[in-house]
């Protein structure tokens, strides 16, 4: 039997902390948008908490991620501070990007979030470049490209996997298969029953894993990260999950099968893993309530900090276009 790396108790708790933060942050985002205090395009990652939480348990602050517009879970799991994140969501000068990027372009190099793209598939070509840099420097860093199942049908996916394999780059392509490419169902627009099978076409391992199962996801993540770090090249991970909400906030999701969605929500990975921690004696109810309360407090603080912050000055229109200011 093959040895599968498993997270120890401390790691499991750290993974749960990330998952709880992502879930609470999502609920807070929806609440604040509904209240009218904040206007932003919002692509909920609810239901996909396990994937980046388990991935990040295998990464360091120095490792890079490239993520996409549905990527708040990836960012939070990698450690983007809540205040900086929320101020950016609110378009304030105290945000990660001075309010100039917004929710679809969160960048935070200190935690390794090198780019968030609003273009489907475009995290992958850039992730290759970061991984190439690590290969040249020999710094041992690993780069993760996050993307959805829809992105596996765009040219950038195919060009990127081929190049990564030819150059043996320390990059991991993590496809979060939530069954929906915007409004279109997976099977209607994808030629294979498993995206993982496409790994074989590019000479790399293609791993199909239950992305809502912490243990399976951790094992896949750890194996791929170890492989990349020791110079053995890229891996494609297809992490199966389900998107609890419509494509974008405000989308009534009439195209999603109700029974399928209800089943997915009944199997919500966050309370499921919470129950496991208690049953396995890794954490007590009180400890978890305290953790969740702490998260709510951090969110209160981040939202108020963001909304109390200033908007960027209009002179910012001419700044950061180039290194030198653009004349008005």
């Amino acid at each position: 039997m093959t040895y599968l790396p498993a997270p120890d108790s401390e790691t499991q708790l750290a993974i749960y902390r990330r998952m709880a933060l992502i879930k609470a942050n999502d609920e807070r985002s929806r609440k604040v948008i509904r209240s009218g205090r904040l206007v932003m395009p919002y692509y909920s990652p609810r239901g996909q908490e396990v994937i980046p939480s388990a991935m990040s348990a295998c990464l360091t602050d120095e490792d890079y991620i490239c993520t996409i517009y549905r990527g708040t879970h990836d960012m939070l799991a990698k450690g983007v501070p809540l205040r900086d994140l929320w101020a950016e969501l609110a378009g304030r000068v105290t945000g990660t990007c001075k309010g100039k990027g917004g929710p679809m372009h969160i960048t935070h190099p200190r935690s390794g979030v090198m780019i968030t793209t609003g273009i489907v598939g475009s995290s992958m070509p850039i992730a290759n470049g970061l991984a190439w840099a690590s290969q040249l420097k020999g710094d041992g860093r690993v780069t993760i490209a996050y993307f959805g199942d829809g992105a596996s049908n765009i040219g950038a996916f195919h060009e990127s996997l081929n190049l990564a394999s030819v150059w043996k780059l320390p990059v991991i392509f993590v496809c979060q298969n939530n069954e929906w490419a915007e409004h279109t169902a997976y099977a209607k627009c994808t030629s294979v029953d498993q995206i993982a099978k496409r790994g074989a076409a590019y000479g790399m391992p293609g791993v199909h894993v239950d992305g809502n199962d912490v243990f399976a996801m951790y094992a896949a993540a750890k194996t791929a990260v170890d492989r990349a770090r020791c110079g053995e090249g890229p891996t494609l991970i297809e992490a199966m999950t389900y998107r609890f909400h419509g494509h974008v906030f405000g989308d009534a999701d009439g195209y999603m099968d109700k029974a399928r969605k209800e089943r997915a929500m009944a199997e919500d990975p966050v309370p499921r893993f919470r129950d496991h921690l208690i049953a396995a004696g890794i954490a007590g109810e009180e400890e978890l309530v305290s953790l969740e309360t702490e998260i709510e407090g951090l969110l209160d603080d981040a939202v108020e900090f963001a909304l109390a912050s200033d908007f960027p000055g209009l002179e910012e229109l001419g700044k950061d276009v180039f290194a030198e200011d653009v004349p008005a």
């Binding site: 001075k98 960048t107 780019i115 470049g129 040249l136």
Partner: protein, 337 residues
């Protein structure tokens, strides 16, 4: 084998060799400079016309990487490596092939500095070649500089001489932001004075090639070759024409152009790109805004015909402006209204 070739006279160079020398000098001085693109390694003969010949042998395949035919992956890899501290020079073999990498160039390279609030920047150079004259038809020789100049966050340079090719390439590699570097294919081998090693030509500075008082002719790339003989013919008719090589499309040198047109009162803009919505349209608009009362005639533009580049030789020749067209247009500018 050096791309500098054996036929170059002392102190002379050509654009192809000058770009090669600029890349080699930059790579020698700065180990963060990388080169990537299709067919660029010496195993592939150093590029389809040999611009990168010798680089992989001198600097190794790790710094000079031949890529698959994957333009998005090429530009993406350059962007990613630049985010981690490298200065990649990516070759997109022909300018028309940049169309399949537009997302990486326009949505990413050009915008990451702004969208990250200045936390990241993309110090890459994208080299590409183009130009009519070799009968390559509708998808291999377009001038698309205006598309990129229309995007905030990317600079566009376009040398017409060996010395400018060297100096602008060194400046482009030094630049902390993305630079699109356009090379004209048919004039790669034309000889002229070589640049002194290490010299820089500033981005955003035009070059007055000939001074004149009656009309300003503003051109770039191969159109300089067409404009030079026009000066002598106009002089025979008693017309004193000033010739400016724009050299940088974005940001273009308003100061030099406006000062010249303020003196001559007449402007003829010549480019190989099709006329409608071309770089000439923007320059003409600014000149009209700034010098309206001082113009002696409306600004005139000469550009490629508004059709795909044709294959058939007479059509291809007629597509782009020629010396005769430039003389005729300049003459028309001097006719009393």
């Amino acid at each position: 084998m050096s791309a500098r070739g054996s036929a170059l006279a002392e102190g002379k160079s050509n654009i192809l060799s000058s770009v090669n020398a600029a890349l080699a000098d930059a790579m020698r001085e700065d180990e963060t400079v990388l080169v990537l693109g299709e067919d660029i390694g010496d195993a592939e003969e150093g590029g389809v016309v040999g611009v990168t010949r010798g680089l992989s042998s001198e600097f190794g395949d790790h710094r000079v990487r031949t890529t698959p035919i994957s333009e998005q992956a090429i530009v993406g890899a350059a962007i990613g490596a630049s985010l981690a501290g490298f200065k990649p020079v990516a070759e997109i073999m022909l300018m028309n092939f940049s169309t399949v990498a537009m997302d990486m160039i326009v949505n990413h390279a050009a915008k990451l500095r702004f969208m990250s609030g200045g936390q990241t920047n993309v110090p890459i150079v994208i080299r590409t070649m183009t130009g009519t004259g070799f009968g390559s038809g509708g998808q291999h020789c377009d001038y698309l500089e205006a598309w990129f100049a229309h995007t905030a966050g990317i600079k566009v340079v376009i040398p017409s001489s060996p010395a400018d090719a060297y100096g602008l390439m060194r400046s482009a590699i030094d630049d902390p932001d993305p630079v699109l570097f356009i090379e004209n294919l048919p004039t790669y081998w034309n000889q002229d004075d070589a640049a002194p090693p290490g010299c820089r030509v500033p981005i955003g500075k035009a070059n007055i090639l000939a001074e004149g008082s009656d009309v300003t002719i503003l051109a770039y790339a191969r159109m300089i070759q067409e404009a030079k003989p026009a000066l002598a013919r106009l002089a025979e008719e008693g017309v004193s024409a000033e010739l400016i090589d724009l050299r940088t499309i974005a940001p273009w040198d308003r100061e030099t152009v406006l000062a010249s047109v303020a003196r001559t009162g007449r402007l003829l803009i010549v480019h190989e790109a099709v006329t409608p919505f071309g770089a000439g349209a923007e320059i003409a608009a600014v000149v009209n805004e700034q010098l309206f009362g001082r113009l002696k005639a409306p600004v005139r533009r000469l550009g490629g015909a508004f059709c795909p580049v044709p294959f058939s030789k007479p059509l291809e020749t007629a597509f782009a402006p020629r010396t005769d067209d430039i003389v005729g247009a300049a003459r028309a500018l001097l006719q009393p209204a």
